[in-house]
């Protein structure tokens, strides 16, 4: 029996029995729809975290040497957290040895930051701004440019000149109707001259990346970042490639272990945070979410399977004389079996395709009404259709085997 013909026959059955087919297809359809939608939403969340959040915080092929990770997605238990609290802070005198050990072509930046109140005599009241003291190739690594004015000169870095590059949110608050370039801004009361306006970096989860100000690390605000002036928060290191980044990380680890005088058995008491390590928890969570996204629709599919089985049993009963005729004309058991299996898997696949269409539509609606960039995963579409057809086959096995075992004489006699 030709498969194509069997599929056409099955489609004909669906066409002529619209209502019955609609109920048959519903279970599979809903199951597949949720599969596609859930997977695309989870994917969208992942992409949002990677591109919009972590991607903005951690540049490509870069890692951050910190005493503890600053991006924690809820995967830190109490013991780990206490261990983090006991860790030694990074000190600026530890940096040169690290820089020394890095392979050629590696860029680095030293960073200290804290939320600090900023004021100006031109706009509204004080505003808490994340002020970041930077040194080295910070703006290059972050690919951050100014929309107006300029970045810092090597002299300003070296001298610790009180100059600032401020973010768009700060401009809006402190300089509502003025060009801030060249004007004074106060960081915790210390006077700074605005030399540039950083381009907008957008936001994530409603949190703006534009409420920022950058100053040279050695500038007067330095003592405000941390309890002690020589404490720093991070060394950001960027390599030209992923392989070289691994090499740079290993070099950094060795130097830091040496400087902290760690014995071989002791664990690192510092963190090398990459975008991967920041996303490790998400990857774990994503696994669970996808599992849930697959498990929940499975209920729909089970219901769909039972309905398809029922419909197929009815179809076998209704078409007993047809089966008898086919056998009389030379259909073997396996021909009859194949016919009904193709029919039930076609039913399942059609339901699955309807589910794919609805799921894709649901994902599209989510993208329009929420900030989640939902992405329909091609594998989930393929899986959905396969699962639909699979459900059809599984639920068709019993009715089909019953059909194939019908005695042709009895079957023929039935009207």
């Amino acid at each position: 029996m030709n498969t194509f013909e069997a599929i056409r026959l099955a489609l004909g059955t669906i066409r002529t029995q619209k209502l019955k087919s609609a109920f048959t297809l519903m279970g599979v359809c809903i199951g597949v729809m949720f599969l596609i939608a859930v997977v695309s939403i989870v994917n969208g969340m992942g992409r949002y975290l990677k591109d919009d959040l972590v991607g903005k915080l951690i540049a490509i092929n870069s890692f951050e040497l910190r005493h503890r990770p600053n991006i924690n997605m809820g995967d830190v238990d109490a013991a780990t957290w206490q261990e983090y609290q006991r860790r030694k802070r990074l000190r600026d005198y530890e940096v040169p040895a690290v820089i020394e050990a890095l392979p050629a072509g590696t860029r680095y930046a030293v960073v200290a930051d804290a939320p600090i109140n900023m004021t100006s005599s031109f706009g509204g009241g004080p505003r808490s701004v994340r002020v970041t003291g930077v040194e080295g190739a910070y703006f290059d690594i972050k690919a951050l440019e100014v929309s107006d004015g300029r970045l810092f000169t090597p002299q300003e870095y070296a001298m610790g000149t009180p100059v600032a590059v401020i973010g768009p949110d700060v401009v809006e608050r402190l300089f509502p109707s003025l060009n801030p370039i060249g004007r004074e801004v106060r960081i915790a009361g210390l006077p700074y001259t605005v030399v540039g306006i950083a381009e907008s970096q957008g936001s994530a989860f409603g949190m703006s990346f534009d409420n920022v100000a950058y100053v040279p690390l050695q500038a007067p605000a330095r003592r405000l970042f941390n309890a002690e002036a020589n404490m720093i928060d991070a060394v950001i290191i960027q390599s030209p490639s992923e392989a070289e980044m691994t090499e740079a990380m290993e070099a950094t680890r060795q130097v830091m272990r040496m400087q902290h005088q760690l014995r071989p058995a002791q664990k690192d008491d510092f963190s090398l945070q990459t975008s991967d390590s920041a996303l490790a928890f998400w990857d774990k969570l994503q696994g669970y979410l996808v599992l849930a996204g697959v498990a929940l629709p499975a209920f729909g599919l089970v219901v769909g399977a039972i309905v398809i089985m029922n419909i197929m049993l009815v179809a076998v009963a209704e078409r007993t004389s047809e089966i008898g005729l086919r056998k009389a004309l030379g259909a073997r058991r396996r021909d009859v079996l194949a016919q009904f299996l193709v029919e039930s898997s076609t039913l399942g696949a059609v339901g699955a395709m309807a589910g794919v269409a609805l799921g894709v539509f649901l994902a599209f609606v989510m993208r329009q009404v929420t900030p989640l960039p939902t992405v329909v995963a091609p594998w989930s579409v393929a899986l959905g259709v396969l699962v639909g057809a699979g459900v059809g086959i599984i639920s068709g096995v019993y009715p089909a085997s019953r059909a194939s075992r019908l005695d042709p004489i009895t079957a023929l006699r039935q009207e």
Binding site: M1, N2, G12, T16, L325, G330, R332, R333, I409, L412
Partner: protein, 274 residues
């Protein structure tokens, strides 16, 4: 076993004598059907119904045979056995030189596909398929490629004057046309026998005559035809009438001279059974 093929002969025409010497040897090519001591019993909830109690029957190539008998005589059972839809409990059945009484289900399906063309009382066409698709069905199971299927099915429908009705569905055809589609379907795989079960049972007398003319024409062209009927005037079209009663052959007569229904006397000969 006493019934060797040598014992079953058609007395008047010497050339039709069987040439099989011993039991268990496949009958020669002259015989399409050779049944020896065919028995079929049904177990109806503890009660054994003996539908066939030992039927001996040999049908030669190009014969036109009607099997008659009252209901319960076993004619339907015999037809099922001849059509390889059922297997006997006892005896041997040779179809076209093959011992089919011992075949497996799949092998029987193949024999039905290749050797037997069924025509049913209720036509048994697939209602949603066109005439052409219905006729193609046996070819589908024979594994014939689509274009050749179409060609052969068209030819078969042409031969029963249904060329212009290829794409009509059964509900768009008259009863006679439906039965002709069924005949085309039966013939499309060039079977050894055309096996008809009450082929005119659902047709009026005019249409019945029309179908009988098709059978006669087929017989003239050399097709072996076996039909089961309880209508004497339909059976009268056959050149040999086998009458069953209580599961055995009651009479078996050949008509030397075939005559139309107007009533000219038939020259009949008993077919010898030992």
């Amino acid at each position: 076993m006493t019934n060797t093929i040598d014992d079953i002969g058609i007395s008047t025409t010497g050339e039709r004598r069987a040439v099989v010497a011993a039991p268990g040897v496949a009958p020669g090519k002259d015989w399409v059907i050779v049944a020896r001591g065919l028995k079929r019993e049904y177990d109806m909830g503890g009660e054994v119904v003996r539908a066939l109690r030992g039927v001996d029957l040999a049908i030669g190539r190009n014969e036109y045979v009607a099997i008659m008998g009252p209901s319960g005589s076993g004619k339907s059972t015999l037809m099922n056995l001849i059509g390889c839809l059922d297997s006997p409990n006892g005896g041997e059945y040779w179809l076209n030189g093959q011992l089919v009484s011992a075949m497996s289900d799949d092998a029987l399906a193949r024999v039905r596909n290749k050797e037997i063309g069924f025509v049913f009382q209720t036509f048994n066409l697939l209602p949603r398929a066109t005439a052409l698709q219905n006729v193609e069905l046996p070819l589908v199971y024979a594994g014939i490629p689509a274009d050749e299927r179409k060609r052969r099915a068209t030819e078969a429908l042409d031969s029963v004057q249904l060329g212009p009705r290829l794409h009509h569905r059964p509900n768009e055809l008259s009863g006679g046309q439906r039965q002709r589609v069924a005949i085309a379907r039966a013939l499309v795989n060039r079977p050894s026998i055309l096996l008809a079960d009450e082929p005119t049972g659902n047709l009026d007398s005019t249409t019945s005559q029309e179908i009988m003319r098709v059978f006669e024409e087929l017989s003239r062209q050399g097709q072996t035809v076996v039909m089961v009927t309880h209508e004497p005037d339909i059976a009268a079209h056959a050149r040999r009438v086998v009458v069953l009663r209580d599961g055995v052959v009651e009479s078996d007569e050949r008509r030397e001279k075939f005559v139309d229904r107007v009533g000219i006397a038939h020259a009949t000969t008993k077919v010898a059974h030992d």
